[in-house]
Symmetry: none
């Protein structure tokens, strides 16, 4: 079955609100193997809405519309539904009771415009809304399903989960194929290098599809397998994952939608290890990422942000001669910072970064984007050089990500260099 | 001029990635008075892409496409452009130099597939990409503009800002009416309280529109005036701004799209003042925000993230008796932390936060969302209590924002309490 999701609302078009509704519905439909062929956003305008209704019903089995069902003047979706299906509004007793109860519970008086919300097009079955006053509509015509829901995310999501998905599941013909997906999250390797390392993709994938999704945090690889038999699909995807891991496994930090700081936090917690962080150029970002994790006080002891040279010396006991000989942005200072922060904190691990994030601060031999990351555990103290790009905020994020990856690889015994 | 925004990518359709690109472009086009009539998302599939190209060019003056320009096999947008416009690929020397430089700067080897990215359809002008390797394309045909950009958000956004918007501005016909807009950014006051304080809106606005856009950082008020005469529009909006400021002026921290940390950083730089920050519950977020500002080393001296009690005592000389009597999350500890961090750093100002961000860590008298913010300058040391919500990440952001607002108000002599 193919589906089209329509979102109605000017606020989405002008970029004031993100279209989280379409993303949520897309995910829910994908989970029950309905193929989302298209999503679109149209303004609160009758002509545009009717045109979109018409064009999408031709190509799809399922159409899901959200938005424009509220009680005020700019909510015109129900009117468009009536016009499009050549039907008329009729009172719906069940829905009216819901609306009345909604106001009673809150000790509020019901208004005329709220009562009007209990009118439902004759052609439609009303979908009850336990979290608000606008009912949804379920319309079936010529083997096509047309569903209209309010745009308020927590009302819509509840109606999708409790009514729309179970109903659609019933309507889905016996499955003639199964979709299995895995996401492999990598960091520290570019999309093109990853592509090269994987070699012959046709051979690797054997009919499956592979998508590369790059961001400043790394490249996500998504593998999708279709097969008539569920077990075969599962085995196929397992085989492909093994092949990919044998080629680029050490760059893969997660196969859930888990971010790197969560992976590092989990390993630290499991092993009962503590960490302290000394940041210069990232200015607190690494500590902020680690302390976003609930329960981080188990492994995160303290951090220092030694922006000035004086603070590097006073807080971390970085050698003043080293600072003047090599400069604050150097391999040696990164190493000493990591050693220093581990020393003052009494933690198992010490992590440190120093660099030039730009746009100012570069010199002839130290360009913008240069960063050094230092790492110490009870056995070794090491540091590594990185060269990132021009943008200050991206450089901070990339440096932080590389630093966390250095911790992950050290903990798992994966070498950092090629 | 009417515009249609097309996003290409399965990851958006299946709800794995939010369509932030369409939102960003929608906002940028709206800012220069281009009317966004529709946005749509289609899969990485030639037939769907070509069909969408065709249908949108009929109804619009401007089409902006993002996604599917990467170097790998599943990136088919360029191929579709070639087919749709009956053109062919040709090497583009300028773009090839960009790609080569991109790799050279990073000390990486260029691969064959990256070189191929420098091929641009003959009908198109290449749009240079300063943050990545895939160039964009600008195509003009029969008075319509067709723009294709990579889907990586920070590459796309830079190309929109530096190339697409200035070019489109030039193409916009002479205006027969003028739109003036101001954004007044507030923090520390809720939407409903702001609404109440403004009083009679009809009288205040006199035909203009006012939108409230709340987020965890505060409430943005956007005022829009339409008028046939540019000067009249400008005067009208100036009058409305004055009226609003007379009622809620002290909550307004910016009338540009400037965030609070930039405002604070600017005042500190202008006055040649330095600050040091001690964070417990925000875990480095405040320092990260301040050091996102280029040139922050002028005013930001150092920070400490004293997550453990030991670190509060060792680094900030917080009194151990105070800690055991009042607990780490208390007014007194916040004050001592601010005093301590100012003392060890020798800065003009000291800022400190301690709190319970959740979901764990609450006790019967200290609920999740409780935060204390301490602030010291050469004259006074003070602390203030705040109560935020349930969500850990939102609580961190709200605490950080309140702390920065405390600095802003202290610097400007605006009382914090009602």
């Amino acid at each position: 079955m193919n589906a089209h999701i329509i979102t109605i609302g000017d606020e989405i078009l002008i970029g004031q609100t993100l279209n989280t509704n379409a993303a949520f519905i897309g995910e829910q439909l994908t989970n029950i193997s309905i193929n989302v062929k298209k999503t679109s956003v149209v303004p609160d305008d009758e002509e545009s809405i009717l045109k979109e209704f018409k064009s999408c019903l031709d190509d799809n089995d399922v159409v899901i519309v959200t938005g424009g069902l509220g009680p005020t003047h700019d909510d015109i979706t129900r009117k468009c539904v009536v016009k499009f299906f050549h039907t008329e509004l009729a009172p719906n007793q069940e829905v009216l009771e819901d609306v009345k109860n909604f106001f009673k519970k809150r000790g509020q008086k019901i208004t005329k415009i709220n009562e009007d919300q209990a009118l439902v097009p004759k052609i439609a079955e009303g979908i009850r809304n336990s979290r608000g006053t606008a009912p949804g509509m379920w319309i079936e015509k010529e083997n096509k399903m047309f569903v209209v829901l309010p745009g308020v995310p927590h009302e819509m999501s509840e109606m999708i989960r409790s009514f729309v998905i179970p109903r659609l599941k019933n309507k889905t013909p016996e499955k003639d194929f199964f979709i299995k997906r895995i996401n492999l999250l990598t960091t520290g390797i570019s999309e093109s290098y990853l592509f090269e390392k994987l070699g012959d993709l046709d051979e690797l994938l054997n009919g499956a599809t592979l998508a590369f999704l790059p961001s400043q945090f790394g490249v996500k690889m998504r593998v999708t397998v279709h097969d008539k038999d569920e077990e075969t699909a599962k085995n196929k995807i397992g085989e492909i994952e093994q092949k990919i891991r044998s080629k680029v496994g050490r760059f893969i930090f997660s196969q859930q939608e888990e971010n790197l700081e969560n992976v590092v936090g989990r390993i630290l917690t499991e092993r009962d290890l503590t960490i302290a962080v000394a940041e210069s150029c990232t200015g607190g970002l690494i500590s902020n990422m680690l302390t976003n994790i609930s329960g981080s006080s188990k492994f995160y002891e303290r951090g220092v942000i030694t922006y000035s040279n004086a603070s590097k010396v006073e807080l971390l006991k970085v050698n003043e001669d080293t600072l003047s000989e090599f400069g604050a942005v150097s391999l040696e200072v990164a190493r000493q910072m990591a050693e220093g922060v581990r020393g003052i904190s009494g933690t198992d691990l010490g992590l440190a970064v120093t660099g030039i994030m730009g746009p100012t601060g570069a010199s002839s031999d130290k360009p913008v984007g240069l960063a050094y990351i230092g790492f110490c555990d009870e056995k070794v103290c090491t540091a590594k050089k990185f060269q990132f790009g021009e943008d200050r905020l991206l450089n901070k994020q990339r440096t932080a990500q590389a630093a966390l990856e250095m911790v992950r690889r050290s903990l798992l015994g994966i070498p950092f260099d090629e």
